[in-house]
Amino acid sequence: MAVTLSHSLPVQTLPRTMQVGGVTVPVDLVTTGWPDPQMRLEDYDPEADLMTINMGPQHPSTHGVLRVKLWLDGETVVKAVPYVGYLHRGVEKLCEKLTYVQLTPIVDKNDYVSPMMNEMAINMAIENALGIEPPRRAQYMRSILAEIQRIGSHLISVGTWGLDMGGAIGGGATIFMFCMRERELLLDLFEELTGCRFHYNTHTVGGQRHDLPVGWDVKAKQVLARIVERSYEYEQFLVENPICRARARGVAVLDPLLAMECGASGPILRGSGVDFDLRRDAPYAAYGEIEVRVPTRTEGDALARAMVRVDEIRESARIASALLDGVPEGPICALKPVKLPGAVKLMEGETAYAAVEGPRGELGTYLVAQTDRKVGQHPYRLKIRSPSLHALSLLPYLCPGHTLADVVVIIGSLDPIMGEVDR
């Protein structure tokens, strides 16, 4: 079987050249004025008394166990180097020893703020390799659940961003609690559907495990309507708050070219004005049957990224409500219920890549099947392309020139999930 790709990406034509005084010159990091992340500290002002500070891995604002080594001149960051790996659990290696149907609950724990996205990406990759298509009802359910997960994830992101700016004992905590209040409603929905509030294990190879309960759609629509209503509250609290604007506007302006260069995706890319969204540009699940509006901002600063997230909360609620209206009847899984873990088999070096638009960007899974028929029930190699890792690679560019207080705002606006970065 040939290489199956879940979608063909639109060819990105990066502007590799720019006009300087009528002359076409190639774009590189120096001409665009980005700070050089490889800066040698010996080249810095020798009079300056630089202080090295290790932010993390135990730090309240690094969103987990991220460690950023900072060189400070006073309070101004001269150089920033992120270190990852403190939450490495060897998930990709572990996946090589598990059967295909056993992978879902393992990858659940990668992006622990939106676990269903991981399930969806990995199962889509397996389905692509198998060459099967989930039934339409399952496709609709996947899209609906993905949108609700996106709302939940963005609520956490916006709330913790408030914590980063306002402190755990103060106004930031109030925003955080408001966001958690709404997320609770979403978790109740998931609990009713799957029996779990956090790690669901509801996607499976070929479709879904749990069918929608009776009356779930009505309940879900009520919750979504309430969240859309409350999203204006977050906007007033956060992005329309003068202190927040003073803190975040013009901080860490991200050039769209640099964003694409580093592989950033999702709200980070859209906050910089690049109109790219896999749901619209390479539709999967049920997204082909519905219009997906992609909110973008051109400012590219930390505030723009947060505003894109708030806009996406509303857009996702709209998409989910619209899809809930048209859920078709039918089976929810293309395969028979799996009795034995090794029932799904892939062999002869099949490879597949599937990507979904997670809350943080393109969440991809690359799968290479075994060549040996005897061990065909588990993958030869599995690679997860996590958007958070690529987002963190922006830190050395974004931090220099800003103060220590800005660094937490920048990290918060990139919204990394360390479970997904380290896997």
């Binding site: 980063d164 700016m165 755990a168 103060g170 109030t174 209040r181 202190i243 207080a405």
Partner: protein
């Protein structure tokens, strides 16, 4: 004024003890009050488990802090490290000496009363700096440097705004200032415009002086973990916490005395209860601000102070002096 003993030493010591203990009690009650308040603001009930309605929560908090181990980092300067928490509470409580709780109840009615309170308030950066330096921790050092910068900058507008009632009264004595506002001629309302501006400005700068949100960058736990208190444990940490609360309570009391007529309530009579009510209301405003707003960045804080508050304060003083001469 109540005179307990002929000896001024005994009188001062006893009355000071009474006021300090009651201040600390009010502070403990204020902790519970704030936690309940914040809880309601955030759609949660706040403390409910310890005692009826969580009334014993501050006691439990205090006991917890007392039984914790006091860790002194090996690289810290031990003497200074242990001295700082004491000094910080002393500086906070000393300012309370001149608060005119009522016409009779005042620890000391100094003829330089307002200046004493402001001097004690501006003493705060010193122990905080000692704490930050002796902790031998980079986060603590950064927090301490911020405290010094912020404390010294915000003293200027604080003093300028406090000058408004002083000029209007013609006295530094707290009792005189309150007496001058008799019959509801509060300085926050009269003279109409600048008095209110001075009042708001005073509250703002007092917030900054006592390191409360939105000006709490010295401890800024989101970037500096806990700022100067990062190496402190147990009751040593509790002292800083307590000092912050006492400081904001004293600031509200002084604001109430300087701008809201202190113990006097015109036709409704006068007494300790009015002063307490005004103080607690201002304290509640401070809590409200704390649980609603985000935090400024340190350079923005400096900009706010030197570019806006100081010129505004100077203008206020100039206006008040002119008004005093010509009116």
């Amino acid at each position: 004024m109540i005179v307990l003993f002929d000896s001024p030493w005994l009188h001062g010591a006893l009355l000071g003890l009474v006021v300090s203990v009651s201040l600390l009690t009010v502070t403990a009650a204020g902790l519970l009050y704030e936690r309940k308040f914040a809880g309601r603001l955030q759609n949660r009930p706040g403390p409910t488990e310890v005692g009826p309605w969580g009334l014993l929560q501050p006691v439990a908090d205090g006991l917890k802090l007392f039984q914790k181990e006091q860790i002194v980092p090996a690289a810290a300067q031990r003497f200074l490290f242990l001295l700082a928490p004491l000094l910080v509470v002393v500086a906070a409580l000393a300012g309370a000496a001149v608060i005119p709780w009522s016409a009779e109840l005042m620890v000391a009615d100094l003829h330089m009363g307002v200046l004493w309170a402001l001097a004690m308030a501006s003493l705060m950066p010193l122990p905080v700096w000692i704490a930050g330096w002796s902790s031998n921790n980079k986060y603590a050092l950064l927090g301490a440097m911020r405290t010094v910068a912020q404390g010294i900058s915000y003293e200027v507008p604080l003093l300028l705004t406090a000058l408004v009632p002083i000029i209007l009264t013609g006295s530094f004595r707290m009792g005189d200032i309150v007496a001058a506002q008799a019959d509801l001629r509060w300085f926050a309302l009269w003279p109409p415009g600048p008095g209110a501006v001075a009042f708001v400005l005073f509250l703002l700068t007092a917030l900054a002086e006592s390191n409360r949100i939105p000006f709490d960058i010295p401890e800024a736990e989101s970037e500096l973990v806990a700022g100067v208190t990062v190496e402190y444990t147990g009751m040593n940490f509790g002292m800083f916490y307590l000092a912050e609360y006492v400081h904001s309570l004293v600031a509200s009391a002084i604001a109430a005395a300087l701008f809201l007529g202190g113990w006097d309530m015109g036709p409704l009579g006068s007494g300790l209860h009015w002063m307490l009510l005004k103080t607690l209301l201002l304290w509640a405003v401070i809590f409200w601000i704390r649980w609603t707003l985000l935090r400024f960045r340190s350079d923005q804080l400096m900009e706010l102070c030197w570019r806006w508050l100081v010129p505004l304060g100077l203008g206020l003083v100039l206006f008040t002096a002119t008004w005093k001469v010509f009116a």
